[in-house]
């Protein structure tokens, strides 16, 4: 494997030099909206959209400037200021990898902002929603743009905060409040990995800056143990943020947030930060074939299957999509385990997924918007006539995700599968299997929602959403339609990314007729057909059937929460109780006991003062005898 291009140009000028504006605009928006508060109620959402769009413009300009440069100069560092003197400087790294993310974040982000104007129009707190969204965009951009792990970590936690705030946006719902807290806490478990990873990195390499890291490794190749440790720790961080096994449990609960949030944060951008982390650190800490790379692959494969299985059993449309997100990120992780080619497909899938999953979520949001916020698919049915645009865009997204030939997902997912099989047969074929399951659960979703008989309640009057919501849907579905082909065919993405992630020994080439590809298609078709058999052809019961053991297993999210509960929460609660008890009775009790002991001895000694002069005389005589005896003794020694 070849290291990524090490030469980093420092720049202060141009749009790249001003790339900090990308972060600053939405941050400013968030600050204005939060500080001015209710004063901005009337125009707050517009400001939010404007700031997001401004960022997008900067991103596009910076992107154009970057591709205008020769390939070997496409790693541009922007020094901002000294952060922790002697340890970390705050700076940005504008390279193909980060700029791709920027485009995705600001682009899809802006669309979702626009969509939210409509979606949140009835919410009295819309202004607050936009401030949080802006905050998120800002933090996410910091995450991908930072040229060092500390900056990345600040962004990393920033998006976590935004996610927390947005999941708990409807804080008065206890379920939302709990889900928000859970998301944050589980993420913190991952953060622990990232944090400790940073300790090891700085101790081993004396720097946390990406560009210096390359030099340090080159100058002083580290021992395998340290790198493995770093890799595994970073993987833990990635698992938290990207909802990979074993830290997946928060993502399904996170659907308590408003749907645009699910689309933006919990599908398109934030949850892919783990993938970004692995790819960004890949060259340093995840060399191909290393144990930690294998761990990444295993986590990815396991999650892609788990997510898919969860997806098959959910009747809540958003939770179904959340399971799907887990699964798709699993694919990306799997891809990210296999060097530059894998990176390319992982990032490619990340981008296309950003589009089609956002499309799907927003579509689901549109459906809910028309259905009085009903999320149970068993209460849907036959909606394709009531909301044609939503149906059309959703259907495109659906085709993209199951890998219908020539749509985005087809290219990127297939690329991952083939790369995986090339490196690791077992995991690769598992990914194929996962694709089949994807075919099933996505088809099930489409059939249950848009086909069949209507099963909705009498007071529901499904209707198409306003343009402000459907236009973003259309834009996104357009992306879902063509982006994969654009990026993958003729290796555009690969070559674009090479300066950032390194070049493979052999450039990838997409084969339309490979065995795995065909097998995947076949399995997807079977899955879809089975879904049609169960949900398209047959009547869908509006009450959930009991289902087999396996179904229950899937419905309960593979018992992830139960496991957490029995492994961590209950022991934790007991530990807390014991600790509190120990503190009150043990530590404090010891001190109070000592005080009580002194008080008690005082009470007893006090009784010696009987009030009888003769007793006092006795003590004097005793004292005299003791004194005399002691002196005689001391004197005669």
């Amino acid at each position: 494997m070849e290291s990524p291009v090490e030469i980093v140009q420092h720049t202060t000028g141009g749009m790249i030099g001003a790339s900090w504006l990308m972060i600053a605009f939405p941050l400013l928006g968030a600050a204005i909206l939060l500080v001015l508060g209710r004063m901005t109620n009337r125009w707050g959402h517009l400001l939010g959209v404007a700031m997001s769009l401004a960022s997008f413009v900067v991103a596009v300009l910076a992107f154009l400037e970057l591709i205008g440069l020769p390939a070997e100069q496409r790693r541009q560092a922007v020094h901002l200021y000294e952060f922790i003197p002697g340890m970390v400087d705050m700076g940005l790294l504008v390279d193909p990898l980060s700029i791709s993310f920027c485009l995705l974040i600001t682009g899809v982000g802006s669309l979702i902002h626009i969509y939210s104007i409509g979606y949140m129009s009835h919410d009295p707190d819309r202004r607050r929603f936009f401030s949080y969204l802006n905050l998120f965009v800002s933090a996410m951009l910091l995450l991908v743009l930072a040229d060092n792990y500390v900056g990345l970590f600040i962004g990393w936690e920033g998006v976590g905060l935004a996610s927390y705030l947005l999941i708990g946006f409807w804080y008065f719902k206890p379920s939302a409040a709990v889900a928000a807290k859970k998301a944050f806490v589980v993420n913190r478990v991952g953060d622990l990995g990232l944090l400790v990873g940073m300790f090891v990195i700085i101790t081993t390499f004396h720097t946390l800056t990406f560009s210096d890291l390359g030099k340090a490794i080159a100058a002083n190749p580290p021992s395998g143990g340290a790198v493995t440790a770093i890799g595994l720790l970073l993987l833990l961080g990635a698992c938290g943020k990207s909802a990979q096994l074993p830290l997946q449990s928060w993502l399904l609960d996170a659907m308590e947030g408003p749907t645009p949030v699910s689309a933006l944060i919990h599908a398109a951008t934030m949850v892919t930060a783990g993938v970004y982390l692995v790819v960004r650190s890949g060259a340093f800490f995840f060399p191909e074939g290393s144990p930690q790379a294998l761990a990444v692959a295993i986590v990815g494969a396991a999650t892609l299957l788990a997510g898919a299985i969860i997806g098959t059993a959910k009747d809540d449309i958003k939770k179904g999509l959340a399971g799907s997100t887990m699964s798709q990120i699993g694919y990306m992780m799997l891809g990210a385990a296999f060097g530059p080619v894998g990176y390319t497909f992982a990032i490619g899938h990340l981008i296309t997924h950003g589009f089609f999953k956002a499309d799907l979520f927003l579509g689901a949001g549109s459906v809910m918007h028309g259905m009085n916020d009903e999320v149970d698919m068993r209460k849907y049915g036959g909606l394709r006539k009531a909301m044609p645009i939503t149906f059309a865009t959703f259907f495109i997204g659906y085709l993209a995700i199951i890998g219908f030939p020539m749509l985005s997902g087809y290219f990127t997912k297939d690329g991952i599968i083939e790369t995986a099989i090339e490196h690791n047969q077992v995991l690769g074929w598992l990914a194929v299997l996962g694709a089949g399951v994807t075919g099933f659960y996505m088809s099930r979703m489409v059939f249950m929602t848009f086909f069949g008989q209507k099963r909705w309640a009498d007071d529901a009057h499904p209707h198409e959403s306003p343009l402000v919501m459907t236009v973003p849907l259309m834009v996104l579905s357009l992306g879902a339609l063509v982006l994969g082909a654009y990026l993958v065919l003729s290796n555009r993405l690969y070559e674009f990314l090479t300066p950032a992630v390194g070049a493979a020994e052999e450039a990838p080439h997409f084969a339309f007729t490979s065995v795995p590809g065909l097998a995947t298609l076949a399995l997807v078709a079977i899955g879809a057909a089975f879904a049609w058999y169960k949900y398209g052809r047959a009547e869908v019961p509006s009450v959930q059937p009991r289902g087999s053991f396996l179904t229950t297993f899937a419905r309960r999210d593979l018992y992830g929460d139960a496991l957490n509960e029995s492994l961590f929460m209950r022991p934790g609660q007991w530990l807390t109780r014991i600790a509190v008890y120990f503190d009150n009775r043990g530590v404090d009790g010891l001190v109070n006991g000592l005080a009580a002991g002194i008080g008690g001895s005082s009470g007893r000694l006090r009784r010696l003062q009987t009030g009888f002069a003769r007793t006092y005389a006795l003590s004097i005589l005793f004292g005299a005898a003791l004194l005399a005896g002691a002196l005689l003794l001391v004197g005669n020694i």
Partner: protein
């Protein structure tokens, strides 16, 4: 040799008397025992070339101090005697332990000290002679202490005055004053005795005044209370009421003038 015999005799006597003082129930006997000890000691002083002290011991100590003790004993009640029951738990036991221990320590210390032959006072007396030498010492070297002792004596006198002497605050009442007070008071004549003009002359039966009313004060209030408590009330309701009233006054502890 003579000294030895004297010593042993007096030692036995004085220790015996000392123990007698401690263990005798009667304070007066204790005082007498103490006097005995003092007299023995006086003799022992004399034996040890301290005739002046022997005299002072008898005159001041046995003569004055012990008399003072006896006076006070008379004041306090000469026939009072201590109960021999010890009320403080363990006091005697521990007193014995401490006392014995202390004695043993002193005896050990003294016994272990190696004394040379007594120097005797001959050298110290020199040409001046005994009394003169004493005086010389007293009025030169210890003159300051001697003077200060006067403060002690003044204090003692002052203290006795403060605690025992009561200054008369008003002129002493003369016979005349008393008579005047009596005739100006409510009862120039004596109060009627109980039983007077009553059908019975028992002391718990109130007197009747010449106008036939009951004289409540003629019955002792303690007797009245006893009668009420025991139910020995006269049949005459008037008398019974008077006794009850008297008892009630008593129990509320207010003696009307």
């Amino acid at each position: 040799m003579g000294e030895t015999i004297t010593f042993w005799v007096l030692a036995v006597v004085s220790v015996g008397a000392a123990l007698g003082m401690v263990f005798n129930r009667r304070a007066v006997y204790s005082a007498l025992m103490l006097g005995t000890v003092m007299l023995c000691l006086a003799v022992l002083y004399a034996v040890q070339d301290a005739p002046f002290l022997a005299a002072v011991q008898i005159i001041v100590y046995t003569g004055a101090v012990m008399m003072l003790f006896l006076f006070v004993l008379m004041l306090v009640g000469v026939d009072s005697s201590d109960s021999l029951v010890e009320t403080l738990r363990g006091q005697r036991f521990w007193a014995a332990i401490a006392g014995l221990g202390f004695a043993v320590l002193i005896i050990l210390a003294v016994g272990n000290a190696v004394f040379a032959k007594e120097a005797g006072l001959a050298g110290a007396l020199g040409q001046a002679g005994y009394i003169r030498s004493l005086a010389l010492l007293l009025f030169t070297k210890y003159v300051f202490a001697f003077e200060v002792t006067s403060a002690l004596l003044i204090t003692a006198a002052l203290g006795a005055m403060v605690l025992a002497h009561r200054e008369r605050l008003a002129p002493k009442q003369t016979q005349k004053d008393l008579a005047r007070a009596r005739f100006q008071g409510e009862h120039p004549s004596p109060l009627p005795g109980p039983g007077t003009y009553a059908r019975s002359n028992a002391i718990d039966m109130p007197a009747l005044l010449p106008d036939g009313t009951v004289a409540e004060k003629s019955v002792n209030r303690y007797i009245a209370r006893y009668d009420v408590e025991q139910g020995h009330l006269p049949e005459d309701p008037k008398l019974a009421d008077a006794i009850k009233h008297r008892a009630a006054i008593e129990s509320s502890d207010e003696e009307p003038a």
